[in-house]
């Protein structure tokens, strides 16, 4: 796997040699984009922070991998933590930050000693003066949002806030801050060092009704069918969920590009594929995911706080057999409403799974309803 190729601080040495301009140029030329899901060009993000005048700047490594069914960052942190740390010091020295934080998902706390060891080793061997601290999250899904990470590190409630200003301009403690995903930072030294580094390779987290779940590395545009067959599903596959936030689609062959997935009214995000076979009910899926979102809503804005609970109430009613088809309409309207009016990315995507499930699998909901 490309992602596991060790760079052994050679990229850092090269970065020192080519300097700030050289690093930005090389990352831009090689086309490194964010691996957190939004695919924003990394060089541009860093350039915003470089262009903002400030005596203090920060780098944050987003290791709050909380999306259900996603475990690619876990693999990277487990297998090549040194690459990530090397990416962090390159990022920090490029934007002139003296301090970096790794915001580690609460559930990954057991990785902390390993990461700590990698930090010590990399800093010692490289001679870099960048200070790197690990901040362990408290388990809130919303803290994967970059503005919520900032609040959490500052010691406040982990809640998203309005952008602009964007973090590279005004972030942690009001200072320019670059926030990159683990996968992005692990790719930074590789992109700088290896001539044969392929910008199109992505990690796909495959799970659900498959007998061989795991991380698979493929270029963007890989066949969905090929990927799922590698997972060796036991029963006929009915649906594919792109994580919880990405929505679901009936299983069929498509090439996995952001555009193609968008064409199915879904979002590919960080390459999460949850397989659902014909032994599972989509309504059960809806209930499980809706529970997750009701629990993870931070409560700041009305539609997500109140709406996610009412979605759950409506699904429970459908499950109980007391609902009518009218309730399915109400559920869809509410799901669209939450998507349309919520404050942050969590709320805006919290009902994608319902909107798509009611589009593609409405009959499963209606079968549970009373006849009138």
């Amino acid at each position: 796997m490309q992602i596991l190729r060790k760079t052994e601080l050679k990229a850092y040495k090269k970065a020192k040699k080519i300097g700030q301009k050289g690093v930005i140029e090389i990352l831009s030329k090689k086309g490194l984009v964010g691996r957190g899901g939004a695919a924003f060009p990394t060089a541009r993000k860093w350039q915003f922070a470089i262009d903002t005048k400030s005596d203090t700047k920060y780098v944050i490594c987003n290791a709050d991998e909380g999306e259900p069914g996603t475990f690619k960052d876990h693999l990277v942190l487990e297998k090549v933590p040194e690459n990530v740390i090397e990416g962090i010091i390159i990022a920090a020295e490029t934007i002139a930050a003296k301090q970096a934080y790794i915001y580690l998902r609460g559930e990954y706390e057991y990785l902390k000693p390993k990461i700590q060891k990698a930090i010590s080793s990399v800093l010692k061997r490289s001679g870099s003066k960048v200070k790197i601290d690990i901040v362990v999250g408290a388990g809130a899904y919303v803290c994967g949002d970059e503005t919520a990470i900032i609040k959490s590190i500052e010691g406040y409630r982990g809640q998203a806030y309005l952008k602009p200003p964007f973090p590279p301009v005004e972030g942690l403690w009001g200072k320019p801050t670059v926030i990159n995903n683990v996968g992005t930072l692990a790719n930074v030294p590789q992109a700088i060092l290896f001539d044969d580094w392929d910008p199109h390779l992505r990690l796909f987290s495959l799970s659900g009704d498959v007998t061989k779940p795991g991380i698979y590395e493929f270029p963007m545009g890989v066949s969905l069918k090929k990927l799922i067959e590698l997972g060796k599903p036991k029963n006929p596959v009915k649906a594919v969920y792109f994580g919880c936030f990405g929505g679901c689609m009936p299983y069929k062959e498509i090439l996995l590009t952001p555009e193609n997935v968008c064409g199915q009214n879904c979002v590919i995000g960080a390459g999460t594929i949850i397989v659902v076979d014909n032994t599972h009910s989509i309504v059960d899926m809806a209930e499980t995911i809706a529970k997750f979102y009701a629990f993870e809503s931070c409560g700041k804005c009305t539609p997500c706080r109140e709406g996610s609970k009412r979605c759950l109430d409506l699904i429970a009613k459908i499950q109980s057999g007391k609902a009518t088809k009218q309730d399915c309409d109400t559920l869809l309207d509410l799901a669209l409403h939450i998507h349309e009016t919520s404050l942050c990315g969590l709320g805006q995507t919290a009902t994608n799974h319902l909107i798509t499930a009611l589009k593609y699998f409405r009959e499963e909901f209606e079968q549970k309803c009373k006849l009138h």
Binding site: L162, C298, T302, C304, K309, R310, L334, E340, T341, L343
Partner: protein
């Protein structure tokens, strides 16, 4: 200038203006809950959403800046449906006991529900249920009516820096409460009530003392009311009169009709307060000791100081607040004069302030004032007694505690106490009857204002702050020894007492300015505009209190402060 279209009408605004504010200027008041002009805009309630042409999602108009060529629709079908759904989501989690709510007919949630013609709520299911927190002497907290707009916590944390309440738990289980399961009484709350006037619903209201007053009025006790300087400038709003309408005469008549035997003016006590405070200031200024001197009329500020800045409290004037001075005089001097025992007199203070309810319960003031009613409560009392307020004749305060000066009138707005104190201090330091007595620099709504005067080659630097966050910054300076001032006025509430926690809603800046103007007008139309020229006050000292700042004056007109723990 930026040009855009709102509802197909060409409008203009400045760079950085938000859609909601521009729409308001052009006559469309987009509904909103979490927006407050004094607070950071958080875009949380999502009631103010509007549609922008070319944008997929609806946007929050309170925190989206205008852009050239934007085409905004504030009431498209899609917008109205989204707004209605958000309202229904809020209502589905609300107790909906409107007719028994203290905010009935003055509640924003109720108003919008009516305007949006919500006759049915689509959603049902669990509701958050909470016990009502009655623990505080000043503020009643009913989370069953809370819509989580977060204005109260932002006022308490960001503006007042008291941090008594915060948002807790996740999602649907969000609630606003003091930390660690404490109640309001146990919290660091200073009772200022700025959260009460920010709350759009009945979740935060003043603790009502109306029933106690009714019982007293129906007893055989001797009932006395005193009314604070700012009440006359705001009470009219409870009866639909325009903000800034002075209603002094009607208020006195109404109190008599309600059954009070005597109606006295706290303004007289304000004049006495200035005489004592100016005496104290001149002494400290001449000795150059314990400067700056800080005024202590505001009970919320006093508790704030006792909690957070105890080591700096020697800077506080030992002088009581006008309320406590009047209470002391009524239960001693006046009781003796009319030959009644203090316990046979029931004193009701009409105050702009929820913290005054706390102040009269301080152990050092035991047996003095019996009840505090806020402006809002007084309005309710008059309505309860069916007093036809608007059509009442006017009448004067009773004597001997009813005469006051222009200096006392301005106690009700920020800067007024300092202006009154400087008038007296300057006269006494120069030994003249100065004609230049208007300190206009300290009358504005800026939260930090300065005035300087030079007397006999010596410069006096005065400073006026309102809001406790501003006070905190000043006290940090005092703590570090970098504070350049000699004399400081601190008021906890924005705008001073006219913006107090017991004043009628709404209390936006324009209203506060109109209320302030009413007090300044009163001052300017008075024959006597200096506290030390108040004839009744002088007579009181001669007859009863002795010297200014003397032994008896100290016993009756001054007080002490205590260290308070807080969480």
């Amino acid at each position: 200038m930026i040009s855009l279209k709102i509802n197909n009408i060409d409008v203009k605004g400045k760079e950085g203006d938000m859609i909601l504010d521009v729409a308001k200027r052009y006559g469309i008041d987009i509904p909103h809950f979490c927006k407050n002009d004094r607070l950071e805009r958080i875009g949380a309630c999502r009631i103010c959403v509007v549609e922008a042409k070319g944008q997929q999602k609806l946007i929050a108009s309170c925190c989206t800046p205008i852009r050239e060529g934007m085409e905004i629709n504030t009431h498209s079908r899609r917008v109205m449906e989204a707004r209605r759904t958000n309202m229904e989501l809020l209502l589905a989690n609300h107790d909906l006991n409107c007719v028994t709510c203290k905010k009935n007919l003055s509640c924003k949630l109720q108003r919008y529900a009516e305007e949006m013609m919500i006759d049915e709520i689509t959603f049902s299911g669990d509701k958050r249920l909470y016990e009502v927190d009655h623990s505080s002497i000043s503020i009643r907290r009913d989370n069953n009516k809370c819509i989580l707009c977060g204005q109260c916590t932002r006022i308490c944390n960001d503006i007042q820096t008291v941090n008594a309440i915060g948002i807790q738990n996740r999602g649907f289980h969000n609630k606003i409460a003091p930390p660690f399961g404490m109640n309001m009484h146990e919290s660091a709350c200073v009772n200022c009530g700025q959260c009460v006037i920010a709350c759009p619903t009945g979740a935060l209201t003043e603790k009502s003392d109306i029933q106690g007053v009714i019982d007293a009025l129906r007893s055989d006790k001797f009932l006395i009311a005193q009314t604070a300087p700012s009440i006359r400038a705001t009470l009219g709003e409870c009866f639909g009169m325009p903000p800034g309408t002075p209603v002094t005469g009607k208020m006195v008549t109404a109190l008599r009709e309600a059954g009070f035997d005597k109606v006295f003016d706290t303004d007289l006590a304000a004049d006495i307060c200035i005489i004592e405070e100016a005496t104290e200031f001149i002494k400290r200024f001449k000795e150059n000791k314990d400067l700056p001197l800080i005024t202590t009329c505001c009970p919320a500020w006093i508790k704030f100081g006792e909690q957070f800045f105890f080591e700096e409290l020697h800077h506080m004037s030992s002088c009581r607040s006008p309320q406590a001075i009047m209470a002391s005089l009524i239960k001693t001097y006046y009781a003796e004069k009319i030959g009644k025992k203090p316990e046979d007199i029931v004193l009701v203070d009409i105050m702009p302030c929820t913290a005054k309810k706390f102040e009269i319960k301080r152990p050092e003031f035991t047996g003095e004032a019996d009840f505090v009613l806020t402006t809002v409560e007084l309005g309710k009392l008059f309505k309860l007694l069916n007093v036809d307020f608007i059509n009442l004749e006017e009448s004067d305060f009773d004597n001997p505690l009813g005469e006051s000066t222009g200096a006392a009138a301005i106690f009700g707005h920020t800067g007024g106490v300092m202006e009154a104190a400087l008038r007296t201090a300057a006269d006494w330091l120069t030994g003249e009857d100065l004609k230049e007595i208007d300190y206009k620099k300290i009358r504005s709504m800026d939260t930090l204002k300065e005035a300087e005067l030079t007397i006999g080659g010596k410069q006096i630097k005065a400073c006026v702050v309102h809001t406790l966050g501003e006070a905190r910054r000043l006290l940090e300076q005092i703590r570090q020894g970098t504070c350049p001032y000699h004399f400081i006025e601190i008021m906890a509430c924005y705008g001073g007492c006219i913006g107090g926690g017991g004043q009628p809603l709404p209390t936006d800046k324009e209203r506060l300015i109109k209320r302030t103007k009413a007090l300044i007008d009163e001052d300017e139309h008075k024959d006597i505009r200096k506290s030390h020229h108040n004839k009744s006050a002088i007579k009181l000292y001669k007859e009863y209190l002795g010297d200014f700042g003397g032994k008896k004056a100290h016993k009756l007109l001054h007080t002490e402060y205590y260290k308070r723990d807080y969480v």
